[in-house]
Symmetry: C2
Subunit: 221 residues, 2 copies
DNA sequence: GTGTGTGAACTTGTTCACAGCG
DNA sequence: CGCTGTGAACAAGTTCACACAC
C-alpha cells in the first residue's frame, strides 16, 4: 500500500515530539485523509490498535518498517552522474533510511573516478564486479533519455530487481522487474492540466466552485 | 487524467519516427496498458479516432496539448537552490515544454546573486516583486524539510496556485491550491515494499509484475 | 465514553464485448 | 474487414455506520 510510507513519516515525527499513542483520526488529519481509510489500511497489517485509546506509535512504526522491508538494508546504484544524479547521491532521502548508495556509474571518462560522499564513480562495465562486492537491489536511472534503455538493460543483467527511472523515457523491462517513473515533465503537465481546468472553470461559471484538488504522494501520487 | 502525459510522450516519439497514424492497441502496448483503457481515455477528449485505421498522431498530440493546458506558457519558480534545486533549474524537463523557469529563490546570501542558466537567484522577500514582472503559476519546493512549510506559505501568498514539493515534509495549503509530492524516500520505500514481498513470495510460486507511472498523486500520491 | 475493526453501501476505475462507422 | 466508441459487467478502492473491546 502506497500510503504506508506517509504514515511512517508522520509517526516518526510524532515519536520525535514524544507522543506515544495516536488515534486514526489524528493520523488521518496529518496525512490528509480520513480516519476510516487509516483504520482500514492499518487493520490489514494486523490488529495493532487499542480500542478506546488508539495505536502505540513506536510499535506501529516497527510494524510498518517490517511490512515495508525496511528492516533490511538495500543497496542502491545510481546510473548517470549528471546534475540530478549528483544531487540524489548526496540526498538525505537515501541516507536517512536503510538505503545505502553502494555504487555510482557513468560512461563519461571525466566523471569516472570522481568521489561523491566517499563513493567512487565507475564505468557501467564494472557492474558485474560491483554486484559481486555488494548485491545491488535498486537501480536509479538519471541518465539522458536516449541511453536510459541501454542502462536499464545493463542494470537488469547485473541482477538489479527494481528500477527508479528519472529519465524522460518509457522503458521496457522483463517481467518481474519493478519499475517506477519519477518524471518531472509529467508531474508538471499534470499540474498544468488541473490548473488549466481551474482557470477555465473560474472563467466559465457564474458560481465559482472551489475545487480542492486532492494531494497524492506516490501515485503516485 | 494522469495518463495523458504518457500518451503524449509516446505520440511525440512516434511523430519523430514519422508515423502518422496509430491504433489504440499500439499506443496501449507502448504505454504498457490495454487498448480498452486507451480508447476510454481518448474518447473523453472527444471522438478523434478514425474507425478502421486509428488515430492521427499529429492531431492527437495537439488535442492532448490543449487538454493539458500546454498551449499556454507556465512560469515556474524554484525555491531552495541546493543540489536538487540546481539540478532541476538546469533540467530539460522544464525547457522542453512550455514551462519556463522564471525565478529562483533562496535565503542563503552566498547563493543569492548566482546565475543559473541566465536566471539570477533572489531572496524570497522579492517574490511579490517577481510576481509583478511575471505571474508565477507553479512553485517547486526543493528546500530542506523544516523550512518547506514557510516557503510554501510565501509562495501561496505570492499567488502561486500549484506546488510541486520535493521536500520530505507533509505540507498544508489552503483549499484550491494544487499540491503534489515527489518524495524520493517514499518512492524507495514503495520499491522495497514490493521487492520484499517479491522475495517472500518466491518461496511460493507467482511472479507479480508491478508497473506504475508518475505518481501520484493523487491521493497518492 | 472513546476509538478500533469490519461488514455493507457506495463510488470510481478497469475490462469486456460488440454495434456501427469508415 | 479493422478499429473505434461505448454501454454493460466487473473489480478495486473509499466511505459509512455501528457493534464491541477497553
Amino acid at each position: 500500500m502506497a500510503r504506508l510510507p506517509v504514515y511512517q513519516r508522520i509517526l516518526e515525527e510524532l515519536l520525535r515530539s514524544g507522543t506515544s499513542t495516536v488515534s486514526s483520526e489524528l493520523l488521518g488529519a496529518a496525512a490528509q485523509l480520513n480516519a476510516a481509510k487509516v483504520r482500514k489500511d492499518l487493520s490489514l497489517l494486523g490488529s495493532f490498535g487499542t480500542r478506546g485509546s488508539g495505536y502505540d506509535v513506536a510499535f506501529l512504526v516497527e510494524q510498518i518498517d517490517r511490512q515495508l522491508g525496511l528492516d533490511r538494508e538495500w543497496a542502491v546504484v545510481i546510473a548517470g552522474i549528471g546534475n540530478l544524479g549528483r544531487a540524489l547521491a548526496r540526498s538525505q532521502g537515501f541516507a536517512a533510511r536503510n538505503f545505502r548508495v553502494a555504487a555510482l556509474v557513468d560512461t563519461d571518462p571525466d566523471i569516472i573516478g570522481e568521489q561523491i560522499d566517499g563513493v567512487v564513480v565507475r564505468h557501467p562495465d564494472a557492474l558485474p564486479a560491483i554486484v559481486e562486492e555488494v548485491p545491488l537491489a535498486i537501480g536509479v536511472i538519471t541518465t539522458p533519455g536516449p541511453v536510459a534503455q541501454r542502462v536499464a538493460d545493463l542494470l537488469v543483467d547485473a541482477g538489479v530487481r527494481s528500477l527508479l527511472n528519472f529519465a524522460p523515457q518509457v522503458l521496457e523491462v522483463p517481467a518481474g522487474i519493478l519499475l517506477r517513473y519519477v518524471d518531472l515533465s509529467i508531474e508538471l503537465q499534470v499540474m498544468s492540466f488541473y490548473q488549466a481546468r481551474q482557470m477555465d472553470d473560474e472563467a466559465g461559471a457564474s458560481m465559482p466552485v472551489i475545487r480542492s484538488v486532492g494531494r497524492s504522494p506516490g501515485s503516485a501520487r
